[in-house]
Amino acid sequence: MTVHVIETKAERALAEQFRAVLPHLPGMRERRAAAFATFEKTGLPSRRLESWHYTDWKGRQRETLPLVEEPLADGLAIASGLVDPFSGIDAYNVLLVNNDTTLLSEQPDQVDVVDLVEAARTGHPLMAHLGTAFPASADPMVALNEAMFVGGVVARLRKGARLVKPAHASATAAAMVPSSVHARSLIIVEDGVELTLLDSVTGRDDIDFQLSTVVEFIIGDNAKVEYITYNRAGARSQAFIGVGVRMGRNSQFNTVNFAHGVGFGRHQVHVAMAGEGSKLGVRGAALITGEQHFDHTLTVEHIAPGCESRELFRTVVDGQGTGVFQGKIVVRKEAQKTDGQMASNALLLSDDATMNNKPELEIFADDVVCAHGATCGALDEELLFYLQARGLPKKEAEALMVQAFIGEVLEFVSHEEARERLSGVVEGWLAGRG
């Protein structure tokens, strides 16, 4: 059977673009060519691909926008007009505007932060880790990112590093003309190191933007990472964010994603629990309205025995919006004593709202405790009446319930100030419903 996968105008343009820019991309020519070849086997993902059944990226991407070429000064000006809820939190700050990376604060001892452009160009030894937590073979969008990436950071937190405050990476998709950006980051957290990373992505509402970002974490034994992501890529954005994680023994990784104001987006998490006794928490909340589409997809692979994973996703859909949750927990034969719990709950605020829930378990070990659940429904009328009978007008009663619904995910943001800021974003979104 012959399948012509590079078939759309956007895909042909991508192939042309790749060949034209390859000589100018920072380093790794062969690796990039191989990744693009992997991408070409599938093309932009469409419904034909099971893992993309509910998010037709190919159908949505009518054309391929040119790579961003915004001068840094203009990009900074645009970035300064966008609201990042984490700004002002006391943190080690990294500013990423399109492909430009700026370190705004001193680096703590035992921490190396390298601009990805530089690292890729010079063949920095840490680049050997690239693609080990989220391989190009795992997903065509990750392959495309590996072929095309320009900006981002490579960070190594060496054994013994002690961070006294969180790190904050603030990324902005900022251009005056419709553009695309492919960004990549690689974070190596060595044995015993603790890191809280706040990662925000913001973009304009009034311009088409194609964004692809992949962040990889290589987590050492006994290390502990909290990774809080905020995505407000913009009403006209098409934004793919991939997070790949490889976990060591007795390590902990907790991540919460919060998305709103994204035109068409997907947040995809890929975790390999490769070390015994590790604990994972993957949570997400999405507020979707208008004709927006947001997709949370995750794959958790229990490779080593005695690991625990907890997943909770809450989606609120208003207007003609569409929400997607796909969660797959794979328990390999060797991963005995696995404890996995996954839940996705959606709240539909309008008759035209859509939610697709697809939780999956693939269990090959026999001594495990695994469960999943998915719900989808409107606000409970009895609860609304209870609140109204206590004096809350209907809109306020609804807002309180939505806030509570999302609040159960935000509870897992242990950085108090970050949690409060996100809670404030929910309030603002609800107030905006009118």
Binding site: R390, G391, A404
Partner: protein
């Protein structure tokens, strides 16, 4: 204070009529009890007075302090001073009890054009009311009613009543699910709120609640209307003879 005139109600969008020309007057300072068998329409009456949308009033009127409340939404009736203690208080996951109490108090104040309550005054009021009802302050940090026992939920209803200071209270089967100790605590909480400018309507199946909250008047409800009224002694008579005579006669 509360006047119900010829109230005729059916479930919205159906022909099922539940209240059939019900008449009832409760004066300021009066505690009136409504007793009746299952299915007589007692809970429906409490919902209709409170403004639940599932019902359609086809005839009659409900007046609170001389003004009709039928056109008011549920939250407006609450701000006007009406309070319903639910038979089955609802659990609200994710909303801390304190947050809920404050939201309710401030929403009513706002509706009445009053300022929001200050944090210190709020804490003081909550602590005092909680102590009287023997509610552990730790419980107030938990999500409202989530994982609470039946008795705790009912005490929480009375706590809300004490904080919101309504002008007219409806207690819908407040005794259901209570053990003897909880019944006493809840009743003491209600009795403490009896006042000469406040009316109460106590709905119950059983006379035992009325041993603790002694009513001024007792009304028997059957098939959607009041079929007999009397003093506190009527409750004892019902306990002895049952509702049979009224069900057959209604």
């Amino acid at each position: 204070m509360l006047e119900i005139k010829n109230l005729t109600v059916r479930i919205a969008d159906t022909d099922t009529q539940i209240l059939n020309g019900l008449n009832l007057t409760v004066k300021a300072g009066e505690v009136a009890a409504i007793m009746g068998p299952n299915g007589s329409g007692k809970s429906t009456l409490s919902y209709v007075i409170s403004g639940k949308e599932d019902y359609e009033v086809t005839e009659g009127d409900i007046l609170l302090n001389g003004e009709s409340i039928l056109e008011m939404e549920a939250h407006e009736r609450a701000a006007a001073g009406l309070f319903l203690a639910f038979q089955y208080p609802l659990e609200i996951p994710g909303v801390a009890t304190m947050t809920f109490l404050k939201a309710a108090m401030n929403a009513q104040r706002k509706s009445r054009g009053e300022d929001e309550i200050g944090p210190a005054d709020f804490m003081k009021a909550v602590r005092a009311a909680a102590a009287q009802l023997k509610i552990d302050p730790e419980m107030l940090k938990r999500a409202l009613n989530v994982g609470f026992s039946g008795g705790e939920k009912k005490r929480m209803e009375i706590l809300q009543m004490a904080l919101l200071k309504p002008r007219f209270c409806i207690l819908d089967e407040t005794d259901s699910g209570l053990d003897i100790d909880a019944l006493r605590i809840v009743s003491e909480g209600v009795n403490a709120l009896r006042a000469k400018d406040r009316g109460m309507l106590v709905i119950t199946h059983y006379q035992r609640l009325l041993d603790h909250i002694v009513p001024d008047t007792v009304h028997v409800m059957a098939r959607g209307r009041i079929v007999r009224s009397g003093g506190a002694e009527l409750a004892h008579e019902l306990e002895k003879n049952g509702y049979r005579d009224y069900v057959d006669a209604a």
